[in-house]
Assembly symmetry: C2
Homo-oligomer: 331 residues x 2
């Protein structure tokens, strides 16, 4: 018997990618239902050899029976509808930031902490895109050397702001007068150190997500993260310059060995052959790529690396579908 | 009596900018001579109300009398010709990396260490573009709090690779099939963590310049710098995500005060009004802009900031002309 799966926010950039990934990974779906706001309800969506009609999202339909409901329609939609669905006995995998830091809600990157899903029913949170790819690379190293501190600067693609942002960059690249609709400044041939809203402490919410979500996923509140998140004129895949101080001394050869054996990680690190990951090369992959692995010149316990992953796939849709797969395995 | 000034490599991106800056800053030039290789010799260049003919660079002409010779023609040209010019009694201000780390050669950012020019004659080195803007922001803070460690990630403009790279990005933005001539990977809608050649320790030469040039300019070999340098699809101005650990505890209000009084620095830091520097806004300025100043969440002695400057101006041409001005003041 196949699964009954619902996708909420199916017409957005991540929602579309979720449908693509569900299809690619051959999830055994008996019935797919897709939901959106009144603006998109009635639209037709192709899934496998079917045409599925977008249904209007209401509190009532969330009480129907689903094996899995994948949400990607923003925090306020998840706040309103996910608890109703969960109360009706449905398992919700939520891509918004709404429930991530709520105690008792699992925040899951399957390669890292699938074990927290055991015996759990209800809302499961999909982490922030920048956090996911960083912890995929950090988790196996944390296990071996113990992380003390991380200093990360991101190079984030516009697709993280949804389809409108892709259109904005496309148009601005061709037209010097195309306005800034999504971003506060022009994004073409520019970079903007501002993702999500600013907090009083001077960090953005995106930067704080990388701090607290990392601690929650790695189950260690002593890990110190300092983050600067920056939007750059790239369509797909986020890149991260990650500096890590460990409690023990890592050696580059061993680090490469550990990462190359880690699930979901591909080590691409032959600088002499110009082999290191870039967003254009990583886009459309489900893996997290790591390159530029090198020891700090001064601190024997510190390491730098360059981490790239497709933000719509591993950073969102693929991770959500992997959570579904992990739950199926645990059944 | 005005100055006799020569510009070597006058037809390159930085050389042209040097002429522009010499004109803008009203340097009292009696005679301007411009030099280039056989490929460009004979070309005409406009300077103020004159038309100047590009002369062929030879060892002989370097022995002529100049008050200042500004070099921007690459390391090998500086290696060959600068010592001849200096031996003939000329003052050389060299933008290449050739002489920067040579003992006895001053490496100068005038706002920071103009004092080393006192009584000096010969070759003076202009630092690396990424280093210049970082030390302009760091020097006043180093004086007050003492820097222990810096972790920096850069977002560098293509103009740092010369005029050909500007053409490459322009064309790639319009044409998906335009080849990679300057860069090892496509730069449009991508970012490349690779500037200058790789060293055996896994760092690039550009990254190592930021380490050792910073120590030399700040006259403190104990300062630890960890750098990751990345090319992004921006035409003008480099941006830097700078994390600093100090020996003493900085307070954000005092840091803003110190930086706003520091020469060559403009503090642009009102995130609630979307005020922080971006490359497009800073391009064409001679100042170094600092924003996103905030305390680390965990280490009371650590601070993050975002530093942006025009790489062809403060990062190259303007700094060279400011060295000339500093020498004139010391006369």
């Amino acid at each position: 018997m196949g699964l009954i799966v619902g996708v909420v926010g199916a017409t957005g950039a991540v929602g579309r990618k979720m449908l693509e990934v569900l299809e690619e990974r051959n999830i055994d779906i008996e019935k797919l239902r897709v939901f959106a706001s009144a603006r998109s309800a009635g639209e037709k969506i192709n899934f496998k050899d079917q045409v599925v009609t977008v249904e209007l999202l209401t509190e009532e339909v969330m009480k129907d029976k689903f094996d899995y409901l994948l949400f990607s329609a923003g925090g306020s939609v998840s706040a309103q509808y996910a608890p109703i669905a969960a109360e009706a006995g449905n398992t919700v995998i939520d891509n918004s930031s709404q429930w991530r830091m709520t105690e008792g809600i699992p925040l899951v990157v399957p390669e890292v902490n699938a074990h927290v899903l055991k015996g759990y029913k209800g809302i499961i949170a999909n982490p922030n895109c920048s956090t996911i790819q960083m912890v995929v690379a950090l988790a196996p190293l944390h296990k071996r050397y113990g992380i003390d501190k991380v200093v990360v600067s991101t190079y984030q693609a516009v697709s993280g702001s949804g389809h409108k942002a892709i259109v904005e960059l496309e148009n601005q690249m061709k037209d010097a007068n195309y306005p800034n609709n999504v971003y506060p400044k022009r994004i073409a041939t520019n970079c903007i150190p501002h993702i999500d809203v600013f907090n009083d402490n001077g960090f953005t919410k995106e930067e704080l997500k990388m701090v607290y979500e990392t601690q929650k996923i790695l189950e260690d509140n002593k890990i110190k993260v300092n983050s600067t998140t920056v939007r750059i004129p790239v369509f797909f895949s986020h890149s991260e310059s990650v500096y890590v101080e460990f409690k023990e001394t890592p050696e580059v050869s061993e680090v490469k060995q550990i990462l190359s054996e880690a699930p979901g990680v591909i080590v691409l690190d032959n600088p002499e052959k110009n082999e290191y990951p870039t967003p254009l090369e990583v886009a459309n992959s489900d893996d997290t790529y790591v390159g530029r692995i090198r020891k700090d010149l001064f601190n024997p316990n510190a390491l730098s690396m360059w981490v790239v992953a497709d933000n719509l796939r591993k950073g969102a849709a693929t991770n959500a579908v992997q959570i579904l797969e992990a739950l199926e395995t645990l059944k």
